[in-house]
């Protein structure tokens, strides 16, 4: 599956990051699509979801080939900086949520809110409700899907790991769909903040690594430096939780 030049030190964090990030995003998209299906039926939910997936596919096949035209070092720098912006944003939020500074994301609440908005829309405009419901599913798939596409490209493109990373994302989609279809309720027991913390840690580690490579840094231990960076951000992130908690309690 992996080309011989790619080490597992690079591949394992890339595939795990793609899998876990996708898990978080797919759970969020699933909640909205489920709310649409519950309020208005399966047809608008599936139509919106399939249209959203179609738009994502168009975006991937339109912009994906452009990546090959960017010189590798410039690509590493661009992706590294974007990963830092994206990963540190997730890590910061997860630290603040762990410290109790901001509220945890609640899938059951998100489901109830979406269902209530759709029922409100039904009361105002019954004729266009299928359209409104389909659009809600479409938006959820596109908005959460863009994040999945970005993470797959970001962790995969710099080292020829696009396919393994994409497989990680597809596995997450399959897992959420399988569990969701069994339970037919929002997946509120998924430890979303823990997952976001883990993904933020991994993406921050990748971000520093790729940014360094883009700047011409030769990392000690080469690809194994990624594992060291991930361990560093994990330790540092965990240490920041009580620090963030302190001003709240004082």
């Amino acid at each position: 599956m992996l080309p011989s030049t790619i080490s597992w030190a690079t591949a394992a964090p890339a595939v795990s990051a793609a899998f876990l990030a996708s898990l978080v995003e797919v759970v969020e998209a699933f909640t909205i699509v489920l709310a649409v299906a519950t309020v208005r039926g399966l047809r608008p939910a599936l139509t919106g979801a399939v249209a959203g997936l179609g738009l994502l596919a168009v975006l991937v096949f339109t912009f994906g080939p452009l990546l090959d035209r960017i010189p590798l070092q410039a690509l590493q720098l661009i992706i590294g900086v974007l990963l830092l912006l994206f990963g540190l944003r997730w890590l910061r939020k997860a630290i603040l949520r762990s410290a109790g500074v901001i509220a945890l994301h609640d899938e059951a609440l998100a489901f109830a809110r979406e269902a209530s908005e759709l029922r409100g829309a039904a009361a105002r405009d019954e004729r266009h409700l299928d359209w409104i419901a389909g659009l809600a599913a479409f938006k959820a798939i596109v908005l959460e899907g863009i994040e999945v596409v970005f993470v797959v490209i970001a962790v995969g493109a710099g080292r020829g790991l696009l396919w393994p990373a994409a497989l990680g994302a597809v596995a997450a989609c399959a897992l959420v769909l399988a569990i969701g279809m069994l339970l037919r309720s929002p997946l509120s027991r998924v430890p979303e903040n823990t997952l976001k913390f883990g993904v933020g840690v991994m993406l921050s580690g990748f971000g520093v690594y790729w940014t360094g490579e883009g700047l011409g840094v030769t990392w000690p231990g080469h690809d194994f430096a990624i594992l060291g960076l991930v361990a560093f951000f994990l330790t540092f992130g965990l240490a920041l939780v009580p620090i963030a908690r302190a001003p709240v309690n004082s």
Binding site: L85, F86, L88, L135, G216, F232
Partner: protein, 68 residues
């Protein structure tokens, strides 16, 4: 049209949530670039500057977020 505007704003929001965090990250990377291209610093020095700079930015952003 609103949908596409929403997609674009969501895409930007993927990277920029807390402006202080985003600007500080770019500043650290720019400083590292300056050190590499102007002073021809060694790999290890740039790597250290990058790691310490990013860790510092994260800590400042978390402390600022907690104090709000």
């Amino acid at each position: 049209m609103n949908i596409f505007r929403l997609i674009v704003s969501e895409f930007i929001g993927m990277f920029v949530d807390d402006e202080f965090l985003a600007v500080s990250i770019l500043a650290v990377v720019a400083a590292c670039g300056l050190v590499v291209w102007s002073f021809h610093a060694g790999s290890l020095a740039v790597a250290l500057l990058l790691v310490i700079g990013i860790a510092g930015v994260l800590m400042s952003s978390v402390v600022k977020g907690a104090a709000k």
